[in-house]
């Protein structure tokens, strides 16, 4: 998979990591984009955290690692963690307990190797921590601590931020709020590598994904592409689906619906808190999509879009099949029975109507 063309695109992080554990081999080679959020996704224990620690230099390994034009590790030398321009947000909040929030931030600022790319005030505002500056870590909630930890990482003026499941210690509502902060940080322009075992989190914030299983790379690339790869979708079982980005172009006050424009298509969803021109991301699960050969006006389904079958592939259950459908320039997945495929004589290139039962706004 890694050809010459891929190496040319080594503008971001280029890694080839191999590390043998007693019962486990971590072996991942891939390229990470130099902007946006790249999720390292996989089940617990698949080596995601170890991979992140290797990138940070907190773990030794065989292989090479370079970021932009800096070589962080090759056969000859290894750049120490403190000399890499990274920020790291650990799974559990790891503020220095003997320093208040302000001095935790100053610790990072004083040691940054270059002038701040983002102003201190901006960082404090974006993460909403201005009221916390004089407090000590033990006085903060889990979510507050993690926000301070992100601010601290940003203040060290990193070229790359690594986040290791920073939401793990937070409750549901704190998670939701916190993800919005991560999205704001993303807009500040520093690339983020984000480790997570939650596909919901990944769908909400990631642009790219590194999908791992048992220490090995399963797939990597654009989130929208990887999610609709048949093999990946089959692995995700009930979580399989596609992610669509669009813009709110219409609000229907009578029926409380919002029209989301993506490509040439319009998708209606519940209009909660949406405003015109807002860019949003929708997740459409494969199990919420059904197919028909004709438009069915007598159905309760609001969203019926025309598409063309792109591929048919096996699913996690022998009775089921995953159908990938091209809708305009986007791709959607439908989980249908093999019987239906047979009855409808679906094959590659068949024109179908895609009936979308529900779509969730993820960000």
């Amino acid at each position: 998979m890694v050809g010459q063309s891929k190496i040319m695109f080594a503008a971001g992080l280029s890694l080839k990591v191999k590390k043998q554990f007693p019962k486990f081999l971590l072996d991942v080679s891939c390229e990470v984009a130099s902007s946006g959020v790249t999720a390292v996704f996989g089940h617990s224990g698949c080596g995601k955290t170890t991979l992140l620690r290797c990138i940070a230099g907190l773990e030794s390994f065989e292989g090479r690692l370079s970021f932009k034009r800096q070589v962080w590790k090759d056969n000859r030398e290894t750049v120490a963690t403190h000399s890499r321009a990274i920020g790291y947000v650990f799974q559990e909040p790891s503020l220095f307990s003997h320093l208040d929030v302000e001095r935790n931030l100053v610790f990072a600022e004083k040691r940054s190797k270059r002038a701040a790319i983002i102003e201190r005030k901006t960082i404090i505002d974006v993460l909403g921590i201005s009221a916390l500056l004089s407090k000590f870590p033990e006085e903060l909630s889990g979510g507050e601590k993690q926000r301070v930890a992100i601010a601290r990482a940003l203040l060290s003026a990193p070229d790359l931020i690594l986040m290791d499941e920073p939401l793990a210690s937070l409750d549901y509502h704190a998670k939701k709020r916190f993800l919005r902060y991560v999205t704001s940080v993303k807009k500040l322009g520093v690339p983020i590598i984000y480790v997570s075992h939650s596909i919901d989190e990944v769908c909400e914030i990631a642009d790219d994904i590194i999908y791992m299983d048992q220490g090995q790379l399963v797939s990597s690339g654009k989130l929208v592409d990887v999610l609709t790869e048949p093999a990946i979708a089959a692995r995700l079982e009930e979580e399989a689906g596609s992610v669509i980005s669009g813009e709110v172009t219409r609000l229907d006050d009578q029926w409380m619906l919002a029209g989301i424009q993506f490509g040439d298509n319009l998708l209606w969803i519940k209009s909660s808190d949406l405003t015109i021109k807002q860019n949003i991301r929708l997740r459409i699960k494969a199990s919420d999509v059904s197919l028909s050969l004709t438009k069915t006006p007598d159905s309760s389904i609001v969203n019926q879009l025309e598409g063309v079958v792109d591929s048919l592939s096996k699913d996690f259950h022998p009775a089921l099949s995953l159908v990938s459908i091209r809708v305009g320039s986007d791709r959607m997945l439908a989980r249908v029975t093999k019987k239906s495929i047979n009855d409808m004589s679906l094959k590659m290139g068949s024109s179908v109507w895609v009936n979308i039962k529900s779509a969730a706004v993820v960000s």
């Binding site: 907190l58 120490a80 403190h82 000399s83 790291y88 650990f90 790891s94 220095f96 990482a153 060290s156």
Partner: protein
């Protein structure tokens, strides 16, 4: 006051010895404790056992071998002689060195425990924020280990105050040079001067009690504020 000039001399010498030993032990013990707390080296157990030996050995055994080493024919003695320093037995420097060996576990162990309880996470965080290992040690590890340093200093000090066997073996009984309080008490008892022995012994008991009570009080204070952990 029933204390003789000789008693005062012994008290002064004892305090000078304990302070010197604690300062040197912090300098020597900190890197040892740090190494023991952070290494994955298999030889760690050997070093831990070596450092803990004074806890279980009779002081006379340690004193005996130190005397052998420091004597004019011993290895250390030959080195000190060739450096023009003479020999160490029966000198203040001699008992300082002997005390360092004897009190080493009392300083190394509390420090090692503190370093271990801090764990590697704060160091990793500091490294990712651009702090070198040296910087991290002084700006993160030392402030987080305040309690451990204080405990180590107090135990090292108190233990050195209470030494007898090692000092008698290595230092003998020279006023102003090696005759510390414990040796002075021994002298008083030998010469049946029980009243003088009482005075010095009582001072020892009270000071040891106050030191240990202070240590206990301090440890409670720290845990109440939840810092230093």
């Amino acid at each position: 006051m029933m204390l003789s000039p000789d008693d005062w001399l012994a008290i002064g010498l004892t305090i000078k010895l304990a302070v010197t030993v604690v300062v040197l032990l912090l300098l020597i013990g900190t890197p040892i404790a740090w190494w023991l707390a952070t290494t994955t080296c298999r030889l760690k157990s050997i070093f831990e056992a070596l450092i803990a030996l004074p806890l279980v050995l009779p002081p006379t055994v340690i004193g005996f071998y130190l005397l052998m080493l420091m004597s004019p024919d011993g290895f250390v003695g030959q080195v000190t002689q060739s450096l023009g320093l003479g020999t160490l037995p029966f000198t203040f420097s001699g008992i300082v060195i002997a005390s360092i060996f004897y009190s080493l576990p009392f300083v190394v162990q509390p420090l090692q425990n503190t370093f271990q309880s801090i764990g590697k996470r704060p160091r990793e965080v500091a490294a990712t924020l651009g702090a070198s290992p040296f910087d991290t040690f002084f700006s993160i590890v030392v402030p987080l280990s305040k309690k451990g340093f204080l405990t180590a200093s107090i135990l090292g000090f108190a233990h050195t105050l209470g030494e007898f066997g090692v000092i008698l073996m290595v230092g003998g009984n020279i006023p102003g040079a090696t005759r510390v309080i414990s040796v002075q008490i021994y002298d008083h008892v030998e010469s049946l001067n029980y009243a003088a022995a009482h005075w010095l012994s009582a001072i020892m008991i009270v000071s040891a009690f106050l030191i240990l009570m202070g240590l206990s009080f301090f440890n409670r204070e720290v845990s109440v504020f939840g810092g230093a952990k």
